[in-house]
Subunit: 321 residues, 2 copies
């Protein structure tokens, strides 16, 4: 995986440059609000997946489709801006959220502007019109699914009986489909055939779901100093994560932790979950997804880029923040 | 204009059928919320413009691009759902607004789902991929502009010195560009050349602006029984409409009407505005725009559909509700 970090850094640098050019340097208050979160950093993982998928299909094609890579980051950011309004969150990526720095109407509009720009940038990729239409369709389908996933996630807040199937469906839509679209769009714009596009789409879907499951583990296991987030917030809020669901299946009731938690409380919960085999099982679900996603990639010829995609999957489920 | 009404009715019927099929008959609470306002009726004017523009370029082509006609109505509805949240309006088209019938997060997501569906339906039109990419680009640009227009409109609420130029820019973006996109998308999907597409785009832009100016007149002049709306609400709220701006240019201060208004108050205001020539001047701005839009249409060969487009422009500035 030693190659992955410098690769991701170079992608982030390039995407940051495009964000400056096409978003930050634009006049007007609404454009400022739209650029705010986009310019606040981030790992730019979705653009990296777009570019690697393209290069895995046709070496060197990623240069032509940088606009599509940017489009995926823009789409992701629009969903974050709207999610922050719905959840009324104040901070994101170390900066004030758009609707708190400006106001709710500006937050809605800032997200809506990015939504439009994402489709504009997809169309700016250098590819055939046939491929661009397919890319637009994939992106639009992903956006509709993300809304559905966010709606499911919110509806879970009022429930204590979410099943593993429901959770997986929610995560597939809320997180999986955008990684799937990232890989699929990269493949289709690079001229990939139907089999290649489907393989990369499935790779993205599986690793995207694994990414979210790892997020659930990080919330519990990674100290705040390291993650920069409030530790065990899911536990404290009684959130229906895969950990909560798997624990319930084994007769453990994590809802008793739904209160302010000391370090000792969190350690007790971790011990309980470890002893019951919950954490191992959740980790296995994530790693099995990555194994499955690698099987999809085996349809493609071996290449540096295919290896980097596998490395991204591996990174998704081994990262601790 | 005797042909226009039955034509618009037949378009509305067809679009309503598609709305039932692709939106109303879908399961799930979020889909219900998305379909709610879409199914609440409306004149379906933007779909009619898409279809007439297509047929004016190539007779009979509108059948192939019904999905694009639907896409324009879906886009319009998404902007209404989000606008209602920003303005916290309770009623629209005689039904509860989405965010009041459900809640604010569901309203945001319902609009976001329609936003995605609009792009999906554009791509379902039967046309060349080249034309579809252009149509997607036009729709995306229009969406970004609409957000900018809504943002300008909201910023005007805190001001009493909006100029005619600023007003026209706001209306161009908030209302004009979607009619422009409707006509331009119809033309491009029907295989129109660059000159035809541009002519129809300009037609839509001018008539769309005229439509909004007429709305400002209707707010003041049409009795509530007829319009179904709260009469003279712009005057009562001190809104920076073209009437307010033109009155200010002539030394009349309409801000004195910023309070509860009796029938007599409204009549006094109308007399004052008529005597100063404000209403005639505003009407002339609207009719001049329609004249200009007809000049754009003269680039197309004479046809029933070209005449119906001219009739729509005429209807926009003569309707009293």
């Amino acid at each position: 995986m030693s190659e992955l970090s410098p690769y991701l850094e170079s992608v982030a640098k390039e995407i940051d440059r495009m964000i400056d050019r096409y978003f930050v340097d634009k006049a007007g208050e609404l454009n400022k609000a739209s650029a705010h979160l986009l310019a606040a950093g981030g790992k730019r993982l979705r653009p990296a997946v777009v570019m690697l998928a393209a290069d895995a299909v046709k070496h060197g094609s990623s240069d032509d489709i940088m606009h599509a890579a940017l489009a995926l980051e823009v789409t992701h950011t629009f969903t974050l801006i709207h999610d922050d309004i719905m959840d009324d969150d104040n901070l994101r990526r170390g900066v004030q959220t758009v609707h708190t720095k400006w106001d709710m109407p500006t937050g809605i509009l800032a997200g809506d502007v990015l939504y439009a720009r994402a489709f504009e940038h997809i169309c700016l990729a250098k590819s055939t019109d046939e491929a661009k239409v397919k890319a637009v369709q994939m992106l639009a389908k992903a956006c509709a699914d993300i809304c559905e996933g966010q709606h499911m996630d919110m509806s879970f807040e009022h429930r204590t009986d979410v099943s593993e199937g429901e959770y997986m469906e929610m995560v597939r839509k809320k997180t999986g489909v955008l990684y799937a679209a990232a890989a699929g769009i990269g493949a289709v714009l690079a001229g990939g055939n139907a089999v290649q596009v489907k393989a990369l789409y499935s790779f993205g879907l599986n690793t995207g779901i694994a990414f979210q499951i790892q997020d659930d583990l990080i919330d519990l296991l990674t100290p705040s100093e390291k993650s920069g987030k409030d530790r065990a917030s899911d536990l404290r809020e009684g959130k229906q994560t895969i950990i909560m669901i798997k624990a319930r299946e084994k007769g453990l009731d994590l809802l008793k932790y739904r209160h302010e938690l000391s370090e000792a409380d969190i350690n007790t919960a971790i011990k309980e979950l470890t002893d019951a085999g919950v954490l191992d099982e959740v980790k296995k679900i994530a790693t099995d997804l990555v194994t499955a996603s690698n099987r999809h990639l085996s349809l493609l010829p071996a290449s540096r880029e295919r290896q980097l995609l596998m490395d991204i999957g591996e990174y998704f489920v081994t990262r601790s923040y």
